[in-house]
């Protein structure tokens, strides 16, 4: 198999993440705590058979939790 050119490699710009690493701890804190608070709020919504309000809150909390947990893992050194 052909080899990759070292000169070509040296000219390319280095990898930069979309979200800067230094911001990850703060993002983790903000997203995880807001997901937690939204989860708490979800438990206080009065019961009715079908509520778009409930679904919306659950979705928002899940998405925030998703990004927050990924940022949290990276902050703790488990680079996922």
């Amino acid at each position: 198999m052909e080899s990759y050119s070292q000169e070509l490699y040296a000219k390319l710009p280095p990898f930069t993440p979309i979200i800067p690493i230094s911001l990850l701890p703060y993002i983790a804190l903000v997203l995880c705590s807001s997901a937690f608070l939204l989860g708490f709020y979800f438990t206080t919504i009065p019961k009715s058979l079908f509520s778009i309000h409930e679904i919306f809150v659950a979705l928002l909390a899940s998405v925030l939790a998703g990004f927050g947990v990924v940022a949290l893992f990276n902050y703790f050194g488990v680079y996922v």
Binding site: T16, F42, A58, L59, S62, A65, G77, V80
Partner: protein
């Protein structure tokens, strides 16, 4: 279900297929050159560094662009690295392994000259090889306060398919204390004047008179073997196996490299019991015998941090990590500093003892990966191994784990690797698993630390798979709570 695709690349098959023009079908080695002078210098250390200078003259105008280097079966078994260049010119020559010759049973390597050598013209080739495990300890057993003596044996006459007009062999020991050297009478008769001369730490055999081609079925090199019995004052460490794992994380912009080493001390095996008292006394008096290896030192890349070092018992705290000093801009580019990791195994390594341990570190991904805007892909460069000075590596496995959802992957190992496996690796927050490539190689030296280049693309959707997987798990929890809220669990009359 793990799916594995094995790409078996036998170096000989690949070489044979591509080098059909270099390997005549009737396996005749074209004698288009004559060795006017061959000077071989062997520097003995824990490996044998053989530097050979072949002054060749061309005898014909055809078949004159390839020089055949032949190694005996014994040399082939220990040789791990061959490089060739023309004296006075920069840049290496292509060395291709052709395999074993059917008649003479020698191993043939084809060295392509920069251009065809016309009849009558001369050239000097510098061919360097590294031989691992080429010396043996004598005596084979020694106590922990004894000295370390080894024996190196070699063919006094060079193995070559060409006629050799003049040749000599120089063996340089690490210390001037050479107990003995042996030259057989058959070889003594071929010397031009003094058959063997010892001066300081160097023993010179030769120069010898003109010889016909020796890489033939009829010529027996056994009566011409020389040997040198010398004192070794350098630790003889061998890495028996190395398993390297490099994991790429785009979210964390991090490259984690983990090395699992099994090392062995190749000094004479310990005779009797290990005496802790003698060991402490010799440490205190700073007179430790070179058969003992108390510590190792690794050079890690400059951005390394969060280094961990553990073995089967647990974390090993006897280590010192010195991160690379921060140098900015031009200074950093001109002299890149390495971080230093000094390891002390749980116990000092006596002759014949093994030690198994794992070392790992994290480094910013920007140091090892580049973004190729033109092709929309990332290019990752991971060194094949971290070289330990003059230490052979008997077998190595390097596993590179790419991010989830990597596609259009191309793989470029730094040298011909006999086996590349493609597999799956599943780790934290993974859904479909990550592609992983494992490179298997044997008989490596510290010169095999070239970079493995891997290019791959990751679509944005694949990047989002991780947070969305966690979001889906959280959503499942919410759904369970939603359902439980609507289930009536009161006890009714």
């Amino acid at each position: 279900m793990r799916t594995q695709l094995h790409l078996l690349l036998l170096a000989a098959a690949a070489a044979a297929a591509a080098a059909a023009d270099l390997w005549p079908t009737h396996q005749r080695l074209a004698p288009s050159f004559i060795n006017t002078d061959v000077a071989r210098t062997v520097e003995l250390s824990s490996q044998a560094y053989v530097k050979a200078s072949y002054s060749i003259q061309s005898l014909s105008d055809v078949d004159n662009d390839v020089f055949y280097l032949t190694l005996s079966e014994e040399e082939e078994k220990v040789t791990g690295w061959i490089e060739a260049k023309v004296k006075g010119a920069s840049g290496g020559l292509q060395v291709k392994r052709l395999g074993q010759h059917a008649d003479s049973l020698v191993y043939v390597y084809a060295i392509t000259l920069p251009k065809a050598l016309p009849k009558g013209e001369s050239l000097t080739l510098l061919i360097d090889t590294i031989e691992s495990h080429a010396t043996y300890p004598k005596p084979a057993f020694a106590s922990q306060v004894d000295n370390h003596f080894r024996v190196y044996e070699a063919d006094g006459l060079v193995l070559s398919p060409y006629e050799t007009t003049s040749q000599r062999l120089r063996i340089k020991a690490p210390t001037p204390n050479i107990r003995s050297y042996h030259i057989p009478p058959a070889l003594e008769a071929l010397a031009k004047d003094e058959p063997a001369v010892k001066s300081g730490a160097t023993v010179t055999f030769g120069p010898f008179k003109s010889q016909p081609p020796t890489a033939t079925k009829d010529f027996d090199l056994a009566p011409y073997r020389v040997s040198v019995d010398f004192e070794m004052n350098i630790p003889a460490l061998t890495v028996v196996s190395l398993k390297r794992t490099a994991e790429v994380s785009h979210w964390g912009a991090n490259l984690n490299v983990q090395d699992e080493y099994v090392v062995r001390n190749d000094a004479p095996e310990l005779k009797g019991q290990f005496s802790r008292l003698d060991f402490q006394m010799s440490q205190h008096a700073r007179r430790m015998s070179p058969v003992i290896i108390p510590a190792l030192s690794l050079s890690l890349p400059s951005g390394a941090h969060s280094v961990y070092y553990y073995d089967i018992v647990g974390n090993v705290s006897t280590s010192v990590f010195r991160p690379a000093p921060k140098a900015a801009g031009r200074a950093a580019r001109l002299s890149p500093q390495n971080a230093q990791l000094d390891l002390k195994p749980r116990y000092p390594l006596m002759g014949g003892w093994n030690y198994t341990f794992t070392v790992g570190w994290d480094a910013p991904l920007g140091d090892s990966e580049r973004w190729d805007e033109v092709n929309g892909r990332w290019v990752l460069a991971v060194p094949f191994l971290t070289p330990l000075p003059a230490t052979p590596i008997d077998s190595a496995e390097v596993k590179i784990i790419l991010p989830e959802g990597a596609t259009d992957i191309t793989v470029h190992p730094p040298f011909d690797v006999p086996l590349i496996e493609r597999g799956h690796h599943i780790t934290y927050l993974d859904t479909i698993g990550r592609p992983a490539f494992t490179f298997h190689a044997e008989k490596l030296t510290e010169r095999h630390d070239g970079l493995i280049y891997i290019t791959y693309k990751v679509p944005t959707a694949a990047h989002l798979q991780k947070p969305l997987a966690v979001a889906a798990a959280a959503l499942i929890v919410f759904s369970v709570m939603w359902t439980l809220k609507r289930v009536d669990m009161t006890i009714k009359k």
